[in-house]
């Protein structure tokens, strides 16, 4: 026990003594483990989570919708489902109402929140699959809470975003205008794990949608074939859970994505491992004398192996713990970012298997990648304490070394398999990753070899640098790989971000035109109009929205006055507020003068087609696209929802929205800026994730370069001493050493950039992602950045060596 304690203390103190390199080694392992753990957690939680569970998303084996899109089920039709269940055709069913409500506000806060769905449910039947679980009140049941038509349950994301609690009132936009509900419960889990959702009962859905709000029924059946045989002839639309073939086809896509995530993680680990290898080489090289002392005192090679492995394992343990902790934190934060959009409501699960595996991988990575340095050090001959004799490894040593490598790689692959949950994936990724590294090393060895065979530079300093690099071509190629991977990762990240930004820019419309919208009802129209005028709106358009049916399909009617045309829409014909204006896409179906029959509130209404219109989506916050435009006085007869489109200066838009919202508690007010903010929030998470990963890879590259330079400086102390002794100045020595690293940085930068160009070309041609581009200016910056990183990292560690006086070097060596 005393022995272990003293040796442990010795190991810890040794690591502390070489604190900088210990830090670098820990950092390398941390980066590697972090990439593996975060990728694995991300993949496990997201790709294979409930968001991609087909049955949970549908809510059963199938979802049945009315014959015509946009229609609802009649009570008679709903009775059929009860009958089918009684006959055993269905195991269970639940009627649903997907309402059109998409905005929510509270009376005391004028700003709206966007909701992905307000769903009407029958609490006694819903959900068939998954859970609808309450955060508060914890003891109540869903049926109790949704007993009244004005009751609503909201998701925790929505509650936290809006600071909503039990008893608060929310206002949502229904087809009849803004409708108030009272928050009776806050949900912590929904069956489909969508966030920003609201649940009301079917009577509540009727308040939003009008009579017969049920427009879908989810079912579970014992036998799909016989159920379909009976239901399909009725003409209902049936959304089925995908067949095993369809699922496997799609799951193959997810699997590829999954392997890509995990592959990136394993590659990160391998690059981190390479960095550990070079750091340990430097660290242990400095301990040669100590090992010789221990051998002289009678320690055998196995004792020393155990001792050095203990030190290395400690580094791995710390790096593994840090990497796992940071990786978990990063993935958690990423989840939080994804959640913050409010669209997803997932429960974070850290998976103990991944966490434990991450720590183990840290220890094993340190030992596996440090083994070369560990073996070299434990092979130190004790005579070296008296004189520095060469000690080339014997044939037996070499065979043992290869065997040990194989064993450790196997153990490492096993632990990675444990994390990934698949032996094939684990061993395959380690093998492919290892092979890729070997190929890269071979490639860069060849490139360096060719570069160093170029005609000798005229400068004697550069000639010495060239000759020195020729002798260190193996270790130099390792550093180039890391820096190249770093440059590649950052370049690709920037390109992907550029793509995301351009997609975002396309999705975001300018804040010009009719940039503010008020949803209200007839009773509040005058107040809303007056409020807009009070805010000095440049233009106001009033639209009376009514739902109708045209040839069995639901259509929206917009009641407009003649004065409100040719602003956000252009009408090609003269309309004297008689008849109906159709969208231009219906021009092939109808002609001017045709009569159409609309059904509004079960009452027929015949109108004559008076002309066609086109709309400019840039002009309006809520562009009119496929609505039929009818005279406003006609729409007024059907208790329409009132929409007021207004135009304000972009500079005052935000403040005006808030003021209008506060002054109109019964209305829903939002602007284009609100819409743009919502669409950009989902991209922000991806940006940060890509940037962090690219930055980490770049940092690893810098660490590798610093290590390579440190090892080089240590090995070349004598050479530096001789150069200084024969008259070379500090600056000349620095130029000599740094020019070597400038060359490495240039090669790494060029190949990193080439890699990105090839990848982007592949993405554009194979995956048709046309928006992704590489900017020549960006590539030039990254190339220069790669050179600077190499030179600066090297300068950092070489600075001290180049300042040493020759006498100090020789005295130290004697």
């Amino acid at each position: 026990m005393t022995r272990f304690v003293v040796l442990l203390r010795y190991a810890v103190r040794s690591l502390r003594r070489d604190a900088t390199r210990s830090f670098l080694a820990i950092l390398s392992i941390t980066v590697g483990v972090l990439s593996l753990v975060s990728m694995q957690l991300f993949s496990t939680n997201l790709l294979f989570g409930p968001l991609f569970d087909d049955r949970l998303q549908i809510g059963g084996d199938a979802q049945i919708k009315p014959v015509e899109f946009g229609q609802s089920f009649s009570p008679e039709e709903l009775a059929r489902f009860a009958q089918w269940q009684a006959e055993g055709l269905l195991s269970d069913y639940a009627p649903l109402s997907y309402t059109s409500a998409g905005f929510l506000r509270t009376p005391d806060n004028g700003r709206v929140s966007f909701v992905s769905g307000v769903r009407g449910i029958d609490p006694s039947r819903y959900p068939l699959l998954g859970n609808l679980r309450l955060r508060e009140p914890a003891q109540a049941t869903i049926a109790e809470l949704l007993a009244e038509p004005s009751a609503a349950l909201i998701t925790r994301e929505l509650a936290d975003e809006r600071g909503l609690g039990l008893g608060d009132t929310i206002v949502m936009n229904g087809s009849q205008g803004p409708t108030s509900f009272s928050v009776r419960g806050i949900l912590k889990e929904t069956p489909d794990h969508r966030g920003d959702g609201v649940y009301v009962n079917l009577a509540g859905a009727e308040r939003l949608m009008g009579p017969n709000p049920v427009n879908a029924v989810v079912v579970i059946w014992p036998d799909q074939a016989s159920a379909l045989q009976q239901i399909e002839p009725l003409g209902y639309q049936i959304d089925l859970v995908r067949t095993p073939e369809q699922r496997s086809e799609e799951s193959e896509t997810y699997r590829i994505l999954d392997v890509m995530f995990k592959g990136a993680g394993v590659m990160g680990l391998l690059v981190g491992g390479m960095s550990v290898a070079s750091t340990l080489q430097v660290m242990l090289q400095r301990r040669k004398q100590e090992v010789a002392i221990l051998k002289t005192l009678g320690f055998q090679r196995r004792d020393l192996l155990a001792l050095i492995c203990l030190e290395t394992g400690l580094l791995g343990l710390i790096g593994g713990l840090l990497g796992t902790a940071i990786g978990t934190w990063i993935t958690y934060m990423l989840f939080e970012l994804l959640m913050s959009g409010g669209m997803i409501m997932l429960t974070w699960s850290p998976h103990p298997q991944v966490l434990l595996g991450g720590v183990l991988v840290g220890v094993l990575t340190a030992i596996t990648f440090g083994i070369q340095a560990i073996l070299a050090l434990s092979n130190t001959r004790p005579i070296s304490i008296l004189r520095d004799l060469p000690s080339p490894p014997s044939k037996g040593d070499r065979i043992g070394q290869v065997g040990l490598y194989a064993l450790l790689m196997l153990v490492c692959a096993s632990v990675i398999s444990l994390i990934l949950g698949s032996w094939i994936d684990g061993i395959g990724l380690v093998l492919v990753g290892g092979l890729a590294l070997m190929l890269l090393r071979g490639l860069f060895w060849l490139v360096l070899w060719c570069c160093l065979r170029l005609p000798q530079p005229f400068s004697p300093i550069l000639r010495i640098a060239q000759s020195s690099l020729r002798k260190r071509i193996h270790s130099a190629s390792l550093a180039v790989i890391a820096l190249c991977v770093g440059t590649y990762a950052v370049s690709l990240a920037v390109s992907v971000i550029g793509d995301a930004q351009s997609t975002l820019a396309e999705s975001q419309r300018s804040n010009e035109g009719y940039n503010l919208l008020i949803f209200t009802d007839l009773a509040n129209e005058s107040a809303a109009y007056a409020a807009l005028q009070a805010q000095q709106s440049h233009e106001i358009i009033t639209i009376d929205a009514v739902s109708a049916t045209l040839q069995g399909s639901k259509v929206e009617l917009e009641g407009r006055a003649l004065v409100d045309l040719n602003h956000d829409i252009s009408v090609s014909t003269t309309w004297d507020e008689q008849g109906v204006l159709m969208p231009e896409q219906r021009a092939e179906e109808y002609q001017i003068g045709d009569w159409i029959e609309l059904v509004i509130d079960d009452q027929p209404l015949d109108l004559q087609v008076a002309g066609f219109y086109t709309s400019d989506p840039e002009q309006s916050i809520l562009p009119t696209s496929d609505a039929l435009i009818i005279p406003r006085q006609l729409a007024r007869q059907y208790d329409p929802q009132i929409r007021l489109l207004a135009m304000f200066d972009a500079a005052v838009l935000d403040a005006t929205t808030t003021q209008l919202g506060q002054s109109l508690p019964e209305a829903l007010v939002f602007s284009r800026a609100d819409l743009n903010a919502r669409s950009s929030s989902s991209y922000a998470a991806i940006h940060r994730f890509a940037i962090s990963l690219g930055g980490l890879a770049f940092l690893t590259g810098a660490v590798l370069i610093a290590n390579s330079a440190g090892l080089n400086a240590l090995q070349r102390r004598r050479e530096i001493g001789i150069l200084k002794a024969v008259g070379y100045g500090r600056r000349q020595v620095q130029v000599l050493l740094l020019s070597e690293y400038a060359l490495l940085g240039t090669i790494a930068g060029i190949f990193g950039v080439i890699g990105v160009v090839v990848t982007v070309f592949g993405l554009r041609t194979l995956m048709q992602i046309d928006t992704i581009t590489v900017q020549p200016a960006l590539l030039s910056v990254l190339l220069v950045g790669s050179i600077l990183i190499a030179v600066c990292s090297a300068a950092l560690v070489l600075w001290e060596s180049s300042r040493l006086r020759p006498l100090e070097i020789f005295r130290h060596e004697s």
């Binding site: 003293v6 002289t296 009678g298 055998q300 004790p382 008296l386």
Partner: protein, 231 residues
Amino acid sequence: MTQQTINSALMVRDITRSLPLAGEQLPILHGISFALKQGDSLAITGPSGSGKSTLLGILAGLDTPNSGEVWLAGQNIARLNENQLASFRNRHIGMVFQSFNLIPTLTALENVELPLFAQAKQRNTRQRAQELLTLVGLADRLHHLPSQLSGGQQQRVAIARALINQPDLLIADEPTGNLDSVTGNAILALFERLQAELNLSVIIATHDPHVARRADQRLHIIDGRLAEVQQ
């Protein structure tokens, strides 16, 4: 095993050593033979490059000769493999170096204990280390790191470490080389006291004729050959 081998603490017979240099073998030692009685001291002298350190390495079991025999504690250490040599060094040989060679991250006490940890079983390691440090006059410096000790004190720690396993042979390579003359003399006096009290056989490699003169025997080596043997 001859009668002379049995009577001697150390018996060296006709050892040679050469080293590879530019593809050829460079001879360092040519047929060195001598013997050392138990409790005697031996000084090895010679100019730089004469083979002194190579001989010392072979005697200490740090290196093996190309030919010849080195008998110590009844074993020909020239025939032992690496692990056997390590174990042999641990049990039978104590080494003291010119530059002390203490582990900088361990305290004086831990440095002295260190050789005991190379053995499979350890007993009373702390107590024995404390006794030896007291013996060399460092009872009040047990928990100091090497960097907190003077050169003379570091060398005393190194001597205590060399004695922890009660070796048959103590080998010192220029033990006073890094010390001033007063401290050097004190260290030599300590060697003589320990030699007498513990009946130790001691071999000292030195350039200093004053140090060499204090030994019972003196070997002078030139160009890898014994040039002179003095009793």
